[in-house]
């Protein structure tokens, strides 16, 4: 395979393919994960993960099913709090603040760290209300301001031209790809710094998947993105960094983390090599 195939990523934050050149930005950790373990009913699902997520970059989490990628993702915005019997140990710093600190307000953490799920999850409300409800709940109630934000985020995700004349229609009337972009818009409306994406394209058809993928690329730089994907080609196309997880015993582990190009082309670990070459996993 031609190594330069991925060299022409469109923007300045591309670190992956530029292994040999100088890095275009100073990698600045925005999420620091230290010794993170995750237990469901006492059984370890994720074992001592230590990892930095860099600002403005796309970090892809890859690995087979059940290796704890999604658990890792939900630990970052403390969505794991909602799962009965789930215990998280270790430390996660977002902007140098411990997210498990008693002073940490979980609602504001989740505002700062947005999340998009595998299946599009629009609320059974109008398109407008889907976007205004979270804003209202976070204290943004001025109608002009809300309308401006709605227009802005819908343009950001490329939905404005498709829906601007039917904002009061039910969000459920949108197609799958449009619903997913609406969910991304809904997360963006809260002006997060970080966006967690759990296989955002896997429930979509190839065309819609391509549109969402392009959108994710456009968000690079403005947002720090952590994306779980089973699509290795996609990870390779869009990510700057990649983290490879594997199940050993029954617990997920982080095997290797590094620049995307490094993980895909010259991985240090033989498991990584076997996985990215399609030999295992």
């Amino acid at each position: 395979m031609n190594a330069n195939q991925y060299a022409d990523k469109p923007d300045a934050f591309t670190l992956g393919p530029l292994e040999e050149g100088s890095a275009c930005c100073d990698p600045q950790p925005v999420i620091q994960v230290r010794n993170l373990s995750l237990l469901y009913d006492g059984k370890t699902a994720l074992d001592k993960v230590t990892l930095d997520i860099y600002k403005g970059c796309i970090t892809a989490l890859i690995g087979p099913s059940g290796c704890g990628k999604t658990s890792f993702l939900s630990a970052i915005n403390r969505l794991t709090d909602l799962i009965p019997g789930c215990r998280v140990t270790g430390e996660i710093l977002v902007n140098n603040r411990d997210i498990h600190h008693p002073d940490m307000h979980v609602q504001s953490l989740r505002r700062q760290v947005g999340m998009v799920f595998q299946k599009p999850t629009p609320f059974p409300l109008s398109i407008r209300r889907n976007l205004s409800l979270p804003l209202n709940e976070h204290g943004i109630t001025n109608k002009t301001e809300v309308a401006a934000i709605i227009g802005q985020v819908l343009r950001d995700v490329g939905l404005w031209d498709e829906v601007h004349d039917r904002l009061d229609a039910s969000a459920l009337s949108l197609s799958g790809g449009q619903q997913q972009r609406l969910c991304i818009a809904r997360a963006l409306a809260l002006e997060p710094q970080i966006l967690l994406m759990d296989e955002p394209c896997s429930a979509l058809d190839p065309l819609a998947s391509g549109v969402v993928e392009d959108l994710i690329c456009r968000l690079r730089g403005r947002y720090t993105i952590v994306i779980v994907t089973h699509n290795l080609a996609q990870a390779r196309r869009i990510a700057n960094y990649a983290a490879f997880f594997w199940v050993s015993g029954r617990a997920g582990q982080l095997i290797e983390f590094g620049r995307c190009q490094h993980i895909f082309e010259s991985p240090s670990h033989e498991l990584t090599a076997a996985y990215v070459n399609g030999v295992r996993g």
Binding site: Q107, S108, R110, R111, G114, F123, P124, E137
Partner: protein, 288 residues
């Protein structure tokens, strides 16, 4: 080749038989309802008139109407619903949203509701008589009857509301949390509106049960057929009136038929209204 055709024919035949059985069952159920309704209309329509609805019963109900009975029934119903619905629905919300599904607390509450649902209504009547009428000193009154009915309605209202809330996709809760919404916000703006049709259906079942209740009211709201002055006055419910006319009053068959027709008509109306209401609520939530 012939064997394959044979198997095919047999499969088609089996299909037909199953279809036939299903249709027969549906027909049977509809027939029971239609038969009851037809019998009520046949026996009661002649006696039914505006005066019948607007006048109080005279001569133990043989003549006159059912105005006071209707008022008593509605007052009992209102008392029961206003007491039971808030308690039942908040319990359901607690069970679904705030307590893990398999917690000992949840299990205990659910178990007691199941037992409560199986208790015969006459037992509720005796309990209501002992507790509300005598112990709390409310006497034979609409209040006693309503509160007794409320106890009876708790299981059905709670379990339908719980089922309705559980049927709301879990993704709504997770996405709401991921957007930094509080549990209360998610509950008010997303989960309750989504569950509204089921809540309304449960309410209907409850109203149906309450309107049809006889035994529990016999010992609590009493037997007096005149117009009630207050909630502390005794009042006779419609179902009880029908029971009394057909069992204890010779020559009371016609008004009994007419009263039964009114009761069934009332149930149909409430049914339709509540369905419309639930639909409207859901629709409005989608549109705003």
């Amino acid at each position: 080749m012939r064997e394959i055709t044979n198997i095919h024919t047999r499969q088609i035949l089996r299909d037909r038989v199953v279809q036939l059985l299903v249709y027969a069952a549906v027909l049977l159920i509809s027939m029971v309802f239609i038969w009851i309704l037809a019998d009520l209309v046949r026996g009661g329509i002649a006696h039914l008139s505006w005066e019948f609805l607007m006048e109080s019963p005279r001569d133990a109900g043989r003549t006159g109407g059912i105005a006071s009975i209707l008022v008593s029934t509605l007052l009992i119903l209102l008392t029961a619903l206003l007491t039971a619905v808030p308690v039942a629905w908040t319990t359901a919300i607690l069970l679904v949203e705030f307590v893990p599904a398999d917690s000992p607390f949840g299990k205990t509450v659910r178990f007691s509701l199941h037992v409560l649902a199986g208790v015969p209504s006459i037992v509720f009547g005796l309990f209501g008589n002992a507790f509300f009428c005598i112990y709390l000193g409310l006497g034979f009154s609409i209040l006693s009857g309503g509160l007794t009915l409320a106890c009876m309605l708790l299981p059905i209202l709670t379990s339908t509301a719980e089922a309705g809330l559980r049927a709301v996709p879990h993704a709504y809760r997770t996405s709401a949390s991921a957007l930094g919404l509080t549990r209360t916000a998610a509950l008010v703006h997303l989960i309750l509106p989504a569950a509204a049709p089921v809540l309304a259906a449960g309410l209907l079942l409850g109203i149906g049960r309450a309107l049809a209740e006889t035994a529990a009211l016999l010992f609590t709201s009493g037997y007096v057929e005149r117009m009630p002055d207050s909630l502390l006055d005794s009042g006779r419910a419609l179902a009880l009136h029908i029971f009394d006319l057909s069992m204890n009053v010779p020559g009371g068959d016609m008004p009994a038929y007419a009263s039964a027709l009114v009761l069934v008509g009332l149930l149909l109306c409430i049914n339709t209204l509540a369905m419309k209401f639930a639909y409207g609520l859901q629709h409005r939530k989608i549109m705003t």
